[in-house]
């Protein structure tokens, strides 16, 4: 058992932190960047590509770095720390992860290399209104005519669905099951309406009307691959959440030390300090379980359950820290001009992207009777 970062991992963290600090060290910059489309800075996206981060988890033969889940976790945490709006998890970890695990060699060669180089930004078009969180699709259906496939129906909200140039789309297959397809951004019969989310990121309504599509990989039901890719993305999000919680707490502590009321700084009030102490407890528990989930992934353990555990705890702790960070700041915490509320907004968005805490709790609850105790270092995790 070893949960310590090696020197290369520490170097990676330093490099990513330095790049993102230059870009978003001033929270006003993020605010400005997220006001106009595409909701992130294309120049920063290029810099991430130049550093190799956009190909981090992909195999080297496909232009990637061949790095593992711990390296992905480091990048996600640093993104969360400054709320960098670049869609690393959405494009690289989730959409790229699906291409990497399901795609044919030709697709991987073509698509992953373009993602890693920064010239292509894919997204996973999966959510459907009314479906909440499921690894299956029903509102978008796939139709086969000879060797050709077309898609019809609506996906929404699709992360960065208006900006993405490649869509990995889940669709109900004619014979049952959920397939995965690749749709080019300029395909006929594809219409996209983008909008701004509360956390400054972007989503879109994506409409398919007999839109030509290519099967990802060999086709067939891909429910398990979607479940797994979502689990991996949940783990990455748990790290982004830990980074965001960390800054939310630090910012709050700094505020308590400097803000004066009744002639004294706020840290003279034990009621406030105690709430900050509880936030620290939440943060450390979240950090532990997020890191563990990545190491489970590294060990090829039960990544779906590990992701549910990370999601449940980061949901509960993210809400706790996000809400109290605003409360301890007072009115300024609710303004868009001050940074702390944006952290709460992002934590709220992350919490609802791939299943919230209750979603994860339900899935874990369904299994509690099947084993007496959990050994986080043993089966099924190791």
């Amino acid at each position: 058992m070893d949960f310590t970062y090696d020197s290369e991992q520490n170097d990676l963290r330093e490099a990513v932190a330095a790049l993102l600090a230059r870009a978003y060290g001033d929270s006003e910059v993020r605010r400005k960047v997220t006001k106009t489309d595409p909701g992130f800075d294309e120049k920063v996206w290029t810099q991430l590509a130049e550093m190799g981060l956009l190909g981090l988890p992909f195999a080297e033969e496909h232009g990637g770095m061949g790095a593992g889940p711990v390296e992905v976790a480091i990048v996600a945490e640093e993104i969360g720390r400054v709320l960098a709006p670049e869609p690393f998890i959405e494009a690289v970890v989730l959409a790229g992860g699906l291409i990497s695990s399901v795609g044919s060699d030709a697709q991987k060669g073509e698509l992953l290399e373009a993602i890693a180089g920064g010239s292509s930004l894919p997204t996973f078009a999966h959510a459907e209104i009314g479906a909440r969180w499921t690894p299956t699709a029903s509102a978008v259906t796939a139709t086969q005519a000879g060797d050709a496939w077309t898609l019809s129906g609506v996906k929404e909200p699709v992360p960065h669905g208006a900006r993405a140039d490649v869509l990995v789309v889940s669709a109900a297959l004619p014979g049952g099951g959920t397939g995965l397809f690749v749709v080019q951004g300029d395909a006929t019969g594809l219409s996209r309406t983008g909008y701004r989310n509360h956390d400054g990121t972007r989503s879109a309504n994506v409409r398919f009307e007999g839109t030509p599509a290519t099967q990802l990989g060999t086709g067939g039901d891909q429910t398990d691959a979607i479940e797994r890719a979502q689990a991996v993305a949940r783990i990455a999000y748990s790290h982004e959440a830990v980074g965001a919680m960390d800054t939310a707490l630090r910012t709050t502590v700094e505020y308590l030390k400097t803000r004066k009321q009744f002639g004294v700084t706020l840290n003279k009030f034990q009621a406030l300090n105690f709430r900050a102490a509880d936030m620290y407890v939440s943060l450390e528990l979240a950090r532990s379980i997020a890191l563990w989930a990545s190491v489970v992934q590294l060990s090829d353990g039960d990544v779906v359950t590990a992701a549910d555990r990370a999601r449940l705890l980061t949901s509960r702790t993210g809400r706790h820290i996000g809400k109290d960070a605003i409360q301890l700041h007072g009115g300024i915490g609710v303004t868009a001009e001050y940074k702390v509320g944006h952290y709460t907004s992002r934590l709220t968005a992350i919490d609802h992207l791939l299943g919230d805490g209750d979603f994860a709790a339900d899935r874990l609850a369904a299994k509690v009777g099947s084993y007496p105790t959990v050994d986080p270092l043993g089966a099924p995790y190791a």
Binding site: T4, K257, A361, G369
Partner: protein
């Protein structure tokens, strides 16, 4: 990074598990499993078995019986002991006065006490808290006045856990009432509980049991050689001791065992035609506690891996806080599973209420103590906000 324990540590864990489950009498472990209090003799028997195998005081310096284990090995030793329902070596001996004697005692005191302390030939109790000195321990008022080569002790201690079994007491007393700071002018004295002038009054707790006592001192005469460390420097020893007290206080293994029991009881208890374990509300409650327990265990492992030279990591306050809350949540869960049967605490023969349901509420009430002792959770919040967050 790596998830699994190394093959050496896996073998170590197996060795501990085998020892605890085969060498400690089943009857004693059953009593712990049934959540009944072990007797004095149960504690003595168990600790002597452990000590004979060099497993009672592995965290002590090697020359006094310690094992020079890594913090992770100590963690595994403690967790396996809890999982096997083994009554742990008496904390007053092994975690409190033993390490203090090894660190601060003179050679004569070490020779006189350490071996007997490890073997529980001497049963120690703690004379720290007083009616007006709880969390604010430095306000203690018990005095020790020098008279020739003796100290004369007067005052009162309280919350003296298992003092009724104790042979000796280690006691903080004010030896310099004129000291500028209240932390200065305190000394640590040790003396037998049957010394003339020592009287003990048991305090009945909410669960009907007698765990703690008041101890009164009236002109108790203690030889000078029974002062540990330097005169008026007792606060250093008190801080050292209280720091050790928090080590291992997360009690992950103990909580795991209780939660496994709760699941079993929820499976056997039916409501609305199905086991409570299948009731979504109960299943979800169990899942939430279990998930926090996983996070606590992982945090304990991180703290253990990062604690250098045996000093407690500052985040050990997180373990105390969360560990105590989870212990309390599981005892509360078991009372709720017992439901209407939970009122029958003192039922005896002639009652059909199962034993686990009888002890559920007394245990729940008794477990309110865990967020109070070892530095109350509010004291832990002071440590976190002050030492860690710098507030």
């Amino acid at each position: 990074m790596q998830l699994q324990l190394s093959p050496e540590l896996q073998a170590f864990r197996e060795e501990m598990r085998t020892f605890f489950t085969t060498q400690v009498p089943q009857e004693i472990r059953d009593k712990v499993a049934a959540r009944r209090h072990p007797t004095k003799q149960d504690f003595v028997t168990t600790q002597q078995i452990l000590n004979a195998a060099n497993l009672a005081v592995p965290h002590w310096p090697v020359q006094y019986g310690g094992r020079d284990w890594t913090p992770l090995q100590r963690h595994i030793w403690r967790e396996e002991m809890q999982l096997a329902k083994v009554p742990e070596p008496l904390a007053f001996n092994t975690s409190m006065i033993g390490p203090v004697l090894a660190q601060f005692g003179n050679e004569e005191q070490k020779d006189r006490f350490l071996a007997k302390t490890a073997n529980l030939d001497i049963w120690w109790c703690q004379g720290f808290s007083e009616p007006d000195a709880g969390s604010d321990l430095a306000s203690l008022r018990t005095t020790a006045v020098q008279d020739g080569d003796e100290w004369v002790v007067n005052g009162q201690k309280t919350w003296t856990t298992m003092g009724q079994h104790a042979d000796w007491i280690f006691c903080l007393a004010r030896t310099d009432p004129t000291a500028e700071k209240k932390q200065r002018g305190i000394s640590m004295l040790v003396f037998p509980m049957d010394t003339p002038g020592v009287t003990l009054r048991p305090i009945e707790l909410l669960d009907g049991g007698f765990e703690v006592n008041e101890v009164f001192f009236e002109d108790v005469r203690v030889p000078s050689e029974n002062l540990i460390g330097e005169v008026n420097k007792g606060w250093d020893q008190a801080k050292f001791l209280l720091g050790n007290e928090r080590v291992g206080i997360a009690r992950v293994g103990g909580i795991k065992g209780m939660l496994a029991l709760a699941k079993e009881l929820a499976r056997e208890t039916h409501y609305n035609g199905r086991p409570l374990l299948e009731d979504p509300r109960y299943a979800s409650r169990i899942a939430e506690i279990e998930n926090e327990l996983v996070a606590l265990e992982l945090t304990a492992l991180r703290v253990v891996a990062n604690s250098a030279d045996g000093k407690p990591h500052p985040a050990s306050s997180v373990l105390k806080l969360k560990g105590s809350v989870l212990q309390q949540e599981v005892t509360e869960l078991i009372v709720d599973i017992a439901g209407p049967l939970s009122v029958a605490s003192f039922a005896e023969e002639g009652s059909d209420v199962p034993d686990w349901a009888r002890v559920a509420a007394p245990e729940y009430l008794n477990y309110r103590k865990v967020s109070i002792y070892g530095g109350s959770n509010e004291v832990q919040r002071v440590i976190i906000s002050g030492t860690i967050l710098g507030l």
